[in-house]
């Protein structure tokens, strides 16, 4: 397989939290350009920890490459521009007085001109269908709106990989539906950690199952989600 088409490559990742807890153990994972992948597993499996490895916020043993670029101290800025990481709680992600300021954070940090920043914010807000919210305070938005803005804050950086941590948690059915439609339209490589198996069936053709810091299954969503023994064994069904 030609590695230049690999969007994300994880090679033998092992990670221990400072308190000694072994959160990831020997993770190997390859995701190709444009693939849409679900990361599922019980609470505490290590999903969030793994996502934080993709842009070098955590660095354990092993090797992470994004678009063929091996993540290290020198190129961490480039990696962070390529990987758009959307945190589970949008409150943590939205820290500016207005929606505009928040979506503009990445482009301003990247040193773009005023016009370019403006263009990128417009693009990102269009993509999530929130153009009318520019001057609103993120604080007063509904959870669903906050999630959309949180996605816009990374889309404005034009990432090639989009990584989302539990995007549908806390959404009502309509907000959840419209978020799924939004994600379906995005061209980026997608890696989504979630407990929402309905969404996985609908949106993400490939599923990776984690448990206790290891990958225990990886394959077509249809196959994995119809394997009752896997589902029961790893707490996806009770």
């Amino acid at each position: 397989m030609d590695t230049t088409y690999c969007s994300v490559e994880l090679y033998d990742i092992t990670f221990r939290y400072p308190d000694g807890h072994l959160a990831l153990h020997g993770i190997n994972l390859t995701i190709h350009q444009g693939e849409k992948v679900a990361l599922v597993g019980p609470n505490g499996a290590g999903k969030s920890t793994l996502l934080l490895h993709l842009n070098g916020i955590h660095t354990g043993e092993g090797q992470v490459s994004i678009d063929g670029l091996s993540v290290n101290h020198q190129n961490i800025g480039q990696v962070r521009a390529k990987v758009g990481l959307v945190f589970q709680s949008p409150d943590d992600q939205l820290f500016s007085p207005t929606v505009f300021d928040d979506v503009a954070y990445g482009p301003i940090y990247q040193g773009f001109s005023r016009d370019e920043v403006e263009a990128r914010v417009t693009y990102a807000l269009d993509a999530v269908g929130m153009q009318g919210y520019r001057q609103r305070s993120p604080h007063h938005l509904s959870v669903g709106e906050k999630k959309r803005i949180a996605i816009a804050t990374v889309l404005s950086m034009h990432p090639s990989v989009l990584v989302l941590d539990e995007p549908t948690s806390g959404l009502d059915p309509r907000a959840r539906r419209s978020l799924i439609e939004l994600l379906r339209q995005l061209p980026q490589t997608l890696l989504v950690a979630t407990h929402d198996l309905e969404m996985v069936r609908e949106l993400l053709p490939r599923t990776v199952v984690m448990d206790q810091g290891e990958i225990v299954a990886d394959g077509a969503t249809q196959v994995i989600l119809s394997d009752e023994s896997v589902l029961y064994q790893h707490g996806l069904k009770a």
Binding site: S96, P97, T98, S137, H139, H140
Partner: protein, 318 residues
């Protein structure tokens, strides 16, 4: 481990006992008045508000931004607490923050906790209040008044508090006034800029999200004239005394003499004990050696004691 990044928490050992006790008394007085005032103003809602906000200020002190070459800017929070809560509650919030830092994280000492409460809780808050209110009056509550007032309040509260710290160190004989005052003042004039900018950022956020919160007491009652004047007096006093003290370090000799007076008052008390009570240990070097031996014996004794009781415990278990 946690350590707050603002170099304003004085550890134990750096202030003389007299200075520590005087500042304890001042701080306790301020706290008692503040408790009475908050009881009057707010009723029962104050408790959860102050508790959660104190936690937020503590956590907010961990926020930082990179300035240059590995240095970073931080928030102390006295000004923003004052702007949000009014002076009395802000004093209690800052007192709680500083107390927790000392009691649980050894950030600032315990005997000198009164001084640290005074510097960050009383001086910081009173100065911030005086400056912010002055800007409010002047700008009639306009946006520019809130932002510039917030910056000025934050900067001055840090700067003046640091002058207070430097003077306390100088009076305690820990650091010469002609060095401590310019050094502390200089560093904190810079740190204060970070404080000011973060405070302005926080205020801009609140102006968009909840402009109703930015009244400092107006929405919750009348201006606290007492604190306002207190802030003014503290600011003027420290701003005038500090340059004087640092250019005329002898000026502090007066204070030192007062302490010398205490020493002489003490002497006759000990002169009552005749020298022959401790025969043979009049030599200091000898005393130090004896202490070394005794100290080692104590530590050794405890170690052996622990080992012995462990052995007995394991034997008993078998």
């Amino acid at each position: 481990m946690y350590a707050s990044p603002i170099p304003m928490h004085i550890p134990d050992g750096f202030l003389s006992v007299v200075v520590s006790i005087v500042l304890w008394i001042v701080s306790i007085t301020a706290i008692v008045i503040a408790l009475r005032q908050t009881n009057k103003q707010l009723g029962e809602k104050q408790l959860p508000l102050m508790g959660v906000l104190a936690a937020a200020i503590f956590a907010g002190q961990m926020l930082n931004f990179s300035v240059t070459g590995g240095t970073s800017g931080h928030l102390m929070g006295a000004a923003i607490a004052t702007i949000l809560l009014g002076p009395w509650q802000a004093m209690l919030v800052m007192t709680s923050v500083v107390s927790i830092q000392a009691l649980l994280f050894q950030d600032g000492g315990l005997l000198v906790l009164g001084a640290n409460i005074f510097n960050m809780g009383v001086v910081g808050v009173a100065v911030a209040y005086f400056v912010y209110r002055a800007f409010q009056q002047f700008s009639k509550g306009a946006r520019w008044g809130i932002l510039t007032g917030g910056f000025a309040a934050a900067w001055l509260s840090i700067f003046i508090a640091s002058l207070g710290v430097a003077l306390q160190l100088a009076i305690s004989g820990t650091s010469p006034a002609n060095i401590a005052i310019p050094a502390m003042g200089g560093i904190h004039a810079l740190i204060g800029i970070g404080e000011g900018l973060i405070t302005v950022g926080a205020l801009s956020f609140l102006l968009v999200a909840r402009p109703d919160l930015l009244g400092t007491g107006d929405s919750r009652g009348k201006t606290s004239i007492g604190v306002w004047v207190g802030g003014l007096v503290i600011t003027l006093a420290l701003a005038i005394i500090s340059p004087l003290a640092s250019t005329h370090p002898d000026g502090l000799e007066w204070v030192a003499e007062q302490k010398g007076f205490l020493d002489t008052a003490r002497e006759p008390l000990f002169n009552i004990i005749p020298d022959y009570v401790f025969p043979g240990i009049s030599n200091q070097a000898l005393a130090t050696i004896v202490a070394g031996v005794v100290g080692s014996l104590i530590v050794l004794g405890v170690t052996l004691g622990i080992a012995y009781s462990r052995r007995r415990a394991t034997k008993a278990n078998q």
